[in-house]
C-alpha cells in the first residue's frame, strides 16, 4: 500500500468520524474526546510518515479506530464469529469480514421470480442461523412460502412460526415486537414498503436484542433510503448443471449487495449445492459506490 492511499483512507475516516460527531451519535462525551485524541495522534503520525514501523503503527491505529466506530454504531463483532455462512469471498464485503448479525437486512425484488430467489438465498442463511434448536418467526401478508420445499435447503420448517397479517401497520408492529423479544434466531418480515422512520425503529429494536431481522420487499416502486444495515438484491440465473445430466440443476442466483454499512458493496454469482453456498469467480466490484454510510 502506498502512503498516498493511506492518507486518502485517513481523510475519509476523518470525514465519517466528523459526520458521526455532528449527528451526535456517540453516547458519551468522554468517549468522544477519547476517540478524538486517538485520531489526532494517528493523523499526526500519518502525516509525518517517517518509517516502515510508523506506517504499521498507523495501520493498527486505523484498524482500532474503525473497530471502535463500528462498536459504537452497535455492531458486535464477537458474536458474529460463531456462525459460518459459507459465503466464501462475499465475507470480504462485510465489516470486519463477518456477516452482520443483530442488524436488519432488506432483500429487494421487483417480481415474483426474484422474490422466490430472495427467499431461496435467505433460506440458506437461515439454515446456519437456526442451528439445531432455535426458532424463527416469519411474518407476512401472503401465504406463498411452501414449507415442504424448505427441506431441500436443510431448513426444519416445523421450527418456523408463521404469522399471517393483512395490514401493513400490523406487520410492522409484529416485526418490531418479535425483534425485541430476544428468543428468536431471526425474524423475517414481508414488508413491501418501508419508510425511514419505521426502519429506524426496527434498527433500534435489534440493537438491544441482537436478533437479526430480514425484510423481504417485493415492490416495483422506487426504493427510498432506510436505516437497514444491508440491502440485497437476488435475481435468478440459469441453473448450474449437474454434470452431463439434462434438466434443471442447482439453483443459481446473482447476488447483489447494493448497500452495506461499513462494508463494500459487490456482486457475485452464487449457487446452492450439497447443503451449502458455492460462490463462483467474483465479477467486477462496484467501485463507484460510497464506502461508508447508508443511513
Amino acid at each position: 500500500m502506498c502512503p498516498a492511499h493511506k492518507n486518502v483512507t485517513c481523510k475519509s475516516a476523518l470525514l465519517s468520524h466528523q459526520t458521526l460527531l455532528d449527528r451526535n451519535i456517540y453516547p458519551h462525551k468522554a468517549e468522544k474526546l477519547n476517540l478524538l485524541a486517538n485520531f489526532d495522534l494517528s493523523k499526526r503520525k500519518g502525516m509525518n510518515g517517517k518509517g516502515q514501523g510508523e506506517q504499521t503503527n498507523k495501520a493498527d491505529i486505523l484498524q482500532r479506530l474503525q473497530r471502535d466506530i463500528s462498536h459504537l454504531q452497535g455492531s458486535k463483532p464477537a458474536c458474529n464469529m460463531q456462525y459460518d455462512f459459507g459465503l466464501g469471498t462475499i465475507h470480504r464485503a462485510f465489516p470486519q469480514g463477518a456477516f452482520p448479525l443483530g442488524a436488519v437486512h432488506e432483500f429487494v425484488a421487483t417480481n415474483r421470480e426474484a422474490a422466490a430467489s430472495s427467499t431461496g438465498f435467505l433460506t440458506g442463511l437461515l439454515k446456519t442461523l437456526m442451528g439445531t434448536e432455535a426458532t424463527i418467526l416469519w411474518i407476512g401478508g401472503s401465504q406463498d412460502l411452501f414449507s415442504p420445499a424448505l427441506g431441500f435447503f436443510g431448513l426444519p420448517a416445523h421450527r418456523i412460526i408463521r404469522l399471517q397479517l393483512k395490514k401493513h401497520k400490523d406487520i410492522l408492529w409484529a416485526v418490531e415486537e418479535a425483534l425485541k423479544c430476544g428468543a428468536l434466531a431471526a425474524v423475517i418480515g414481508e414488508i413491501p414498503d418501508l419508510d425511514f422512520t419505521a426502519s429506524r425503529r426496527l434498527q433500534l429494536a435489534v440493537e438491544h436484542s441482537k436478533t437479526t431481522g430480514f425484510l423481504l420487499r417485493c415492490t416495483t416502486r422506487p426504493l427510498s433510503t432506510t436505516a437497514c444495515t444491508a440491502r440485497w438484491r437476488i435475481t435468478p440465473l440459469p441453473s448450474a448443471a449437474l454434470g452431463d445430466l439434462p434438466g434443471i440443476g442447482y439453483p443459481r442466483w446473482q447476488v447483489e449487495l447494493l448497500k452495506i454499512r461499513n462494508g463494500q458493496p459487490g456482486q457475485w454469482n452464487v449457487h446452492w449445492q450439497d447443503d451449502g453456498f458455492r460462490v463462483e469467480q467474483p465479477d467486477h466490484r462496484i467501485k463507484s459506490q460510497p464506502r461508508i454510510k447508508i443511513a
Binding site: 431461496g120 415442504p148 420445499a149 427441506g151 431441500f152
Partner: protein
C-alpha cells in the same frame, strides 16, 4: 407429569357397617334386603353368607332355602354413598384429592404423596391397616392410571402396588370385566373367546371399534394411561380468584391499571406458592350502575408472571367503559395448570420452542390479532401439494415424520394455480413456451412429468402432471397439466409455484 392413583374397593361395605353396629352378627351369615315388586331382594350379603353361595340380587326366599340360619335385615337406602363420603373425608390425611367411586369404592389422587410414608407400599399398608382397624374389609391398589388401579383393586386381593408405567403388564392377565365396560360387551367378548385383556390389546383398533363401539377403546386407553380421566374431588378446590373493592368509584385508566396490577400480584403470588400457572383469566369490573365489563386473556403455556399477564390485559383495557365509575374489580383464573418453577440456566441459549420469552411473545401477538393467524406447519403424508402440510396443534408438538426432500418442490406455492397458455408437444413432453399474464417465457430446461393424483378417497378430480421448468432468463417455475389429453377439449395448464 404422570399421576399416581389409588383405588380402594370395599367388597362388603354395608354389611361391615351393620356388623360393627351389632357385634353379635360378626360371625353369622346375614344379608340386607329391600322390597322390589312385592318381593324381598338381597342387596348386600356378609362374607359368611357369601360362602353359602348367596349373592346380591337373589330373592330372600331362595337364600333361606340355601341356608336356614340366615339373618335378614332391612337395608337402609343411601347408606353406601354416605359411608363412602365419610371414609373419603377421613382419607384426607393421606391425600387432599379424594373422589367417590360408586357403587363400592373410593379413588385417591396420590401424586407426590407416598414419599411422606416412606414409599408406595408402606403408604398403602398404612391405609389398609387403618381401614381394617375400623372394621372394613378393603382391597387397595396403586397405579399410574385410574383404570388400572380400579381393575387391580377388584381382581387381586390385598394391597398391590403397580410400578410406574407397569399398567400393561398388570392388566394382561385380568378378565375384560376389569376394564369397566358394560355387561353385554363383556358377554360378547367372552363369546369370541377374548377372556383376558391380553387377547384384545393387540387386536387392530378399527375392528375393535366396529364390533364393540368406542367405549371399549376408551376404557382400554384410560386403563393403559393413554388418555386422561376426569376426577371429581369431594372437597372442591378453592377457585383462583381475587377481588378488590374500591373505596370510591374509579373511572380513570390509571386507576383501573393500578387495580389490575394489584389483583394480578395477589393472584400470581398464590399461583406461585402452589406452583400453578394460569391458562385463561378473566378481569371483571362491576360498575356503579350495575353493569359488568369483562376482558379475558389466554396464554399458550401456564404462566404466573404478573408483568407478562398485565401486558396481555393492557392491550384490551381500552375496551372497558368505566361509565360513572367502577366499584369492584374481580380477577379469576378459569383454567390453571401445573407450572413448576423455571429452571435457572447456567447460560442463556438462543431459545427453541420451549423458551418462555417466545411463548410470551406469542401470547402478545395472539392477544392482539387472535390465535388463528399464527401457524406452524408440520409435514403431512400427502403428495397433493395443498395437503402436504398440516397446522400443529400446539407450540411444542413434534413432527411425526421428516420433511420429504426426494421430489422437487417450489419455495413459493401460489394459493390458487394460475392458468397459462402453453405450447407443448404431445404426449408427455414438457412445454416449449408458455405465456403468463401477457409475458412470454421460452423454456430452456425442464424436468418431469411427475404425476400427482387427487387422492380419490379425499376428493374427486383429475390428476396433475407437474413439470419443473426454467426459462431463458433463469427463472424457474412449477407448471402442471390437468388431466389427460382429450380430443374434445384443449388441455388446461397452470402455473403453481416458483422455485428459488
Amino acid at each position: 407429569m404422570a399421576g399416581r392413583f389409588v383405588s380402594i374397593w370395599f367388597p362388603h361395605l354395608a354389611t361391615d357397617w351393620f356388623a360393627l353396629r351389632r357385634p353379635e352378627l360378626q360371625d353369622q351369615p346375614f344379608v340386607l334386603s329391600a322390597p322390589v315388586h312385592g318381593r324381598l331382594i338381597i342387596t348386600a350379603c356378609s362374607p359368611q353368607a357369601q360362602a353359602f353361595g348367596i349373592g346380591a340380587g337373589m330373592a330372600v326366599a331362595d337364600a333361606r332355602a340355601l341356608e336356614t340360619r340366615l339373618h335378614v335385615l332391612n337395608d337402609q337406602p343411601q347408606l353406601v354413598p354416605q359411608l363412602l363420603k365419610r371414609i373419603g373425608e377421613r382419607a384426607i390425611r393421606y391425600t387432599p384429592v379424594v373422589s367417590i367411586d360408586l357403587p363400592d369404592g373410593i379413588l385417591l389422587d396420590v401424586s407426590g404423596c407416598s414419599h411422606l410414608w416412606g414409599g408406595d407400599l408402606p403408604y398403602l399398608q398404612a391405609m389398609a391397616v387403618s381401614l381394617r382397624k375400623n372394621g372394613y374389609a378393603a382391597h387397595l391398589a396403586m397405579a399410574d392410571s385410574i383404570g388400572t388401579a380400579w381393575a387391580v383393586a377388584r381382581f387381586r386381593t390385598g394391597v398391590t402396588v403397580i410400578e410406574p408405567n407397569g399398567q400393561k403388564d398388570a392388566l394382561l392377565s385380568l378378565p375384560p370385566e376389569a376394564l369397566r365396560v358394560g355387561g353385554d360387551t363383556v358377554e360378547r367378548l367372552c363369546k369370541l373367546g377374548l377372556t383376558r385383556i391380553a387377547d384384545l390389546v393387540n387386536l387392530p383398533r378399527p375392528s375393535l371399534r366396529r364390533r364393540f363401539g368406542p367405549e371399549l377403546l376408551l376404557r382400554l386407553d384410560q386403563a393403559l394411561g393413554h388418555t386422561t380421566e376426569s376426577f371429581v374431588p369431594i372437597v372442591p378446590i378453592e377457585p383462583y380468584q381475587e377481588r378488590l373493592p374500591a373505596l370510591e368509584p374509579i373511572s380513570t385508566r390509571t386507576g383501573i391499571e393500578i387495580a389490575l396490577e394489584r389483583l394480578l400480584e395477589m393472584l400470581c403470588a398464590r399461583l406461585h406458592r402452589e406452583q400453578m400457572g394460569l391458562r385463561t383469566a378473566r378481569f371483571t369490573c362491576y360498575r356503579v350502575d350495575g353493569k359488568a365489563m369483562q376482558i379475558s386473556i389466554e396464554t399458550n403455556r401456564p404462566s404466573s408472571h404478573a408483568r407478562h399477564l398485565f401486558k396481555l390485559f393492557e392491550m384490551k383495557l381500552a375496551t372497558i367503559e368505566p361509565g360513572l365509575g367502577i366499584e369492584l374489580f374481580l380477577i379469576e383464573a378459569a383454567r390453571v395448570e401445573d407450572h413448576g418453577p423455571g429452571q435457572e440456566k447456567l447460560w442463556e441459549t438462543q431459545g427453541g420452542l420451549e423458551d418462555v420469552r417466545l411463548s410470551e411473545l406469542i401470547d402478545r401477538i395472539a392477544g392482539r390479532f387472535g390465535a388463528a393467524c399464527l401457524r406452524r406447519d408440520l409435514p403431512a403424508e400427502h403428495y397433493w401439494p395443498e395437503r402436504a402440510t398440516k397446522p400443529s396443534a400446539s407450540l411444542t408438538e413434534k413432527p411425526a415424520t421428516g420433511w420429504p426432500t426426494d421430489k422437487p418442490r417450489p419455495l413459493h406455492l401460489l394459493e390458487r394455480p394460475e392458468p397459462i397458455q402453453v405450447t407443448a408437444p404431445i404426449p408427455d413432453y414438457p412445454p416449449m413456451l408458455f405465456r403468463h399474464k401477457g409475458a412470454l417465457h421460452k423454456i430452456k430446461k425442464a424436468d418431469g412429468p411427475e404425476r400427482i393424483e387427487a387422492e380419490w378417497w379425499l376428493e374427486t378430480g383429475e390428476h396433475r402432471d407437474y413439470y419443473a421448468v426454467e426459462d431463458e432468463e433463469g427463472a424457474r417455475y412449477w407448471l402442471f397439466r390437468l388431466g389427460h389429453y382429450d380430443a374434445e377439449k384443449p388441455p388446461a395448464w397452470f402455473l403453481h409455484g416458483y422455485f428459488a
